[in-house]
C-alpha cells in the first residue's frame, strides 16, 4: 500500500494538540506549597521574555542576572560549549554568576547506573537551587539532562509531600532553605528568547549554511509541557529552540525523517557499551541527515547529544559509512556568527568530526585562527601568562 504522504502532510499543517493531553499548570501547586511554608518559590527576575510552550502556557525566560548551572559533560569534554554561552552573554553586556557552589545534577550517573534514589536526586537539585537563591542570581540550566531531571524532581516533590519533607529534613541539616524556581529554564530557551538580539550583533553571514537540528530528548520529552514551541517553527510540531536561533542567523534549516529519534547516548552505553551508541548515532541520525538533508553542520542543545553525534563518526568512517559532518551546540554556532574565535572561544579543537570546511564556508581562516591560538598557548607555556582571559579572546 502506498503511504499517502501528501495527505498526511496536509493534515499535519493544521495540527492541533489533543486538549485531553494538556497538563495542568503546575504553578498553582507551586504557590500552594509555598503558602503552606514547605518552600520558597524563586521568582523569575525582570526583565523576562514570555515564550510559548507546547500546550500554550506562556513561560517566563529571564534575560539577565543568571546563575549558570554548568554541565559536567560540557565543561569536562566540550568546554567550548560552556565558554560560548558565557561569551555570548558577555557580548550582550549581561551580568551573570559562574558559581563554584554548584554540583552536577548527578542525573547522568543516575540514568546510567541507578546508584541513587529519588530523595538523593531531589536533595541535590534543591541544594543547587538554594545556592542560586543565596547568590541573588536565578538558575539557568546548561545541560538538557539536568533540565529534564529537575523538571521530574519538581513533579515528584509536588506530588509527594513525604518526599518533600524528607528533602526538607536534609536541607535543614545543610543549613539551606527549600527553594523551587518559578520556572526551570534551559540555556537554549535563553538563546531562543534572545535570538533577535544575538542576530543584531551578527558579523558573519550564514546564508547558505545548511543546518540540521537534533532536538534533545531530555529537553522536550521529559515533562513535555515546559518546552518551547512556536507555531511558526515546524508548524509548532517540534520544539522551536535551536531551530529558531539558526533561522534568526540566516542559516538554512533542513528537515530529516528521524528527527524524533534520540542520539544514541544511552547514559551507560556511551561510557561502557558504545557499540550501541555508535551504531545508533551513525545509522539512525548522521547517515539519515546526510542522505536526506546533506547539512554543513548538525546543531543540538545538549551535552550528550553533541558528544555522541560528534564522537561516533570516527569509527564509522573506518567502515566507509556515509558520515563526516561537524556537530556543535547552537551556542557555539551563535557565538561564531557574532565573531567569536573558533579556538579561543568555541574550542573546536576538542571536537572530532572535521569542522574546517564549515569554518571556510563561514569565511573563517581556520589556519590563521589556529596560529593565533598557538601563540596564546606559547604565552601560557612560557609562563608569560597563567590563563587565557576574556580580554585575551577578544584581543
Amino acid at each position: 500500500m502506498t503511504i499517502p504522504v501528501e495527505a498526511l502532510l496536509k493534515k499535519k499543517a493544521r495540527f492541533q494538540r489533543d486538549p485531553e493531553r494538556v497538563p495542568e499548570d503546575f504553578h498553582e501547586e507551586l504557590f500552594r506549597i509555598e503558602d503552606e511554608g514547605d518552600w520558597i518559590v524563586d521568582r523569575v527576575p525582570e526583565p523576562y521574555v514570555e515564550a510559548p510552550t507546547k500546550y500554550g502556557r506562556p513561560k517566563k525566560v529571564p534575560v539577565a542576572g543568571l546563575w549558570h548551572h554548568k554541565s559536567c559533560g560540557q565543561c569536562g569534554h566540550i568546554p567550548g560549549y560552556s565558554t560560548a554561552i558565557f561569551w555570548v552573554m558577555r557580548k550582550l553586556g549581561l551580568d551573570y554568576n559562574d558559581p563554584r557552589d554548584q554540583t552536577s545534577c548527578t542525573a547522568w550517573n543516575y540514568y546510567a547506573s541507578a546508584t541513587s534514589n529519588a530523595a538523593a536526586q531531589a536533595a541535590v537539585a534543591m541544594r543547587n537551587f538554594a545556592a542560586a537563591k543565596e547568590s541573588g542570581y536565578y538558575p539557568l540550566i546548561h545541560c538538557g539532562t539536568s533540565y529534564g531531571h529537575y523538571k521530574e524532581v519538581r513533579e515528584e516533590l509536588i506530588l509527594h509531600p513525604e518526599l518533600r519533607h524528607e528533602v526538607a529534613r536534609i536541607m535543614a541539616k545543610l543549613g539551606k532553605p527549600m527553594v523551587m524556581p518559578e520556572e526551570i529554564v534551559h540555556y537554549s530557551e535563553w538563546f531562543w528568547a534572545m535570538r533577535n538580539e544575538i542576530a543584531a550583533k551578527q558579523v558573519r553571514n550564514f546564508e547558505g549554511i545548511a543546518v540540521t537540528v537534533h532536538p534533545a530528548c531530555h529537553y522536550y520529552k521529559l515533562v513535555e509541557g515546559d518546552a518551547i514551541y512556536d507555531p511558526d517553527v515546524y508548524g509548532g510540531q517540534r520544539t522551536a529552540v535551536v531551530t529558531g536561533v539558526a533561522e534568526a542567523l540566516g542559516a538554512e534549516v533542513r528537515s530529516y525523517s528521524t528527527w524524533f529519534d534520540c542520539c544514541g547516548f544511552g547514559f551507560r552505553h556511551i561510557l561502557v557499551q558504545r557499540d550501541f551508541t555508535r551504531s545508533f548515532a551513525t545509522m539512525r541520525k548522521i547517515e539519515v541527515m546526510k542522505e536526506e538533508a546533506n547539512p554543513d553542520v548538525v546543531l543540538t542543545h545538549d551535552t550528550g547529544c553533541v558528544t555522541t553525534l560528534d564522537k561516533s563518526q570516527f569509527a564509522a568512517q573506518a567502515h566507509q559509512r556515509n558520515v563526516g559532518v561537524p556537530v556543535m551546540s547552537e551556542a557555539q554556532f551563535a557565538a561564531l556568527a557574532m565573531g567569536a574565535h573558533p579556538y579561543k572561544v568555541c574550542q573546536l579543537h576538542w571536537h572530532s568530526a572535521d569542522y574546517r570546511p564549515l569554518l571556510e564556508k563561514m569565511g573563517i581562516d581556520w589556519q590563521a585562527a589556529w596560529a593565533e591560538f598557538q601563540q596564546d598557548i606559547k604565552r601560557l607555556e612560557s609562563g608569560e601568562a597563567e590563563f587565557l582571559t576574556w580580554e585575551d579572546v577578544d584581543a
Partner: protein
C-alpha cells in the same frame, strides 16, 4: 513456583541468570511497586506499540518498553524478574517512550527496577556496572561526573585522534579556557570544599551511598572513608 513452564519465560539454565524462589521474585516486585513513583508511571497499556516504535534500544536489542509496562501492569512477577535480570540495562533512558497515549512512563518504571536491582545486588546490576566504578567514584566524590582527565586514548580509542591531542595538551588547553571555573583537570569545574561536604551529607542521609555496597563493596568502602574523613575535618556529625 520456582520453575517456570510457560513459553513466555526463559527457564534458569537457558536464561543465563540464577533462578530464585517465586517468593523472592515477589519480594523484588513488591519493592518496585512500593516506590512512590510507580503509580505515577503506569496507567495500563493499549498494546499500541508506540513506545516500541520510538525506542532506540528496541532497534538494536531484544528489548521492548511495551513488555516492561505490560508485565508491571499485569503484575507478572516471573516476567518482571526476568526483565530485571536481562532487559533493564539495555534501556537508553531517553524517555522517548513517554509519548505513550496512556501516559505510561516505561523508562521511569525501568529506573525503579534498576534501583531495586542495585539495592538487592542482582547479578545484572553487578554485570552492568562492571567497568563503571570509576565513574561512580568520580561523581559521588567530586560532584562532577566526567572530568577532562578521563579523556584518555585507551579509554576512548574509537573517538579519533583528537582524544590523544586533548590528553597530551590537557593542562595547557584547560588553562586556555577563559571561564575561571574551568581551569581544572580532575573535575569538570572548580567545586567549593563546602559544596562537596554538603553533597557527601546528601549521599549519607538518603542512603544513596549504601546502595553501592550491594554491587561493589570495595568502592563503597573507599567512598565511605573519603567522605567520613572530609566530614570529620569539617566537624560535621552525621
Amino acid at each position: 513456583m520456582a520453575v517456570t513452564t510457560s513459553a513466555l519465560y526463559k527457564s534458569g539454565h537457558v536464561a543465563g541468570f540464577e533462578d530464585v524462589p517465586f517468593e523472592e521474585k515477589q519480594r523484588l516486585f513488591d519493592e518496585v511497586r512500593a516506590d512512590m513513583r510507580f503509580p505515577d508511571y503506569l496507567y495500563g497499556c493499549y498494546e499500541c506499540g508506540i513506545c516500541v516504535a520510538a525506542c532506540p534500544s528496541a532497534r538494536f536489542y531484544d528489548f521492548s518498553p511495551r513488555r516492561v509496562a505490560q508485565a508491571a501492569a499485569r503484575e507478572d512477577v516471573e516476567l518482571v524478574y526476568q526483565q530485571m535480570q536481562e532487559d533493564i540495562w539495555e534501556c537508553s533512558q531517553c524517555f522517548s517512550c513517554v509519548r505513550c497515549p496512556r501516559g505510561n512512563n516505561p523508562g521511569g518504571i525501568i529506573t525503579i527496577m534498576r534501583e531495586v536491582a542495585v539495592n538487592n545486588g542482582l547479578a545484572s546490576a553487578k554485570e552492568a556496572l562492571e567497568g563503571y566504578s570509576r565513574i561512580i567514584y568520580k561523581i559521588m566524590s567530586t560532584g562532577t561526573q566526567v572530568s577532562p582527565d578521563m579523556l584518555q586514548p585507551d579509554a576512548f580509542p574509537d573517538w579519533g585522534p583528537e582524544v590523544k591531542d586533548v590528553s597530551d595538551n590537557l593542562d595547557l588547553w584547560r588553562r586556555a579556557l577563559p571561564p575561571e571555573t574551568l581551569h581544572t583537570t580532575s573535575t569538570s569545574w572548580a567545586v567549593d570544599d563546602r559544596t562537596l561536604v554538603e553533597l557527601y551529607l546528601i549521599w549519607f542521609e538518603t542512603g544513596a551511598l549504601d546502595m553501592i555496597k550491594g554491587v561493589d563493596e570495595g568502592l563503597h568502602m573507599i567512598l565511605e572513608e573519603v567522605m567520613e574523613e572530609r566530614l570529620e575535618e569539617e566537624g560535621i556529625e552525621r
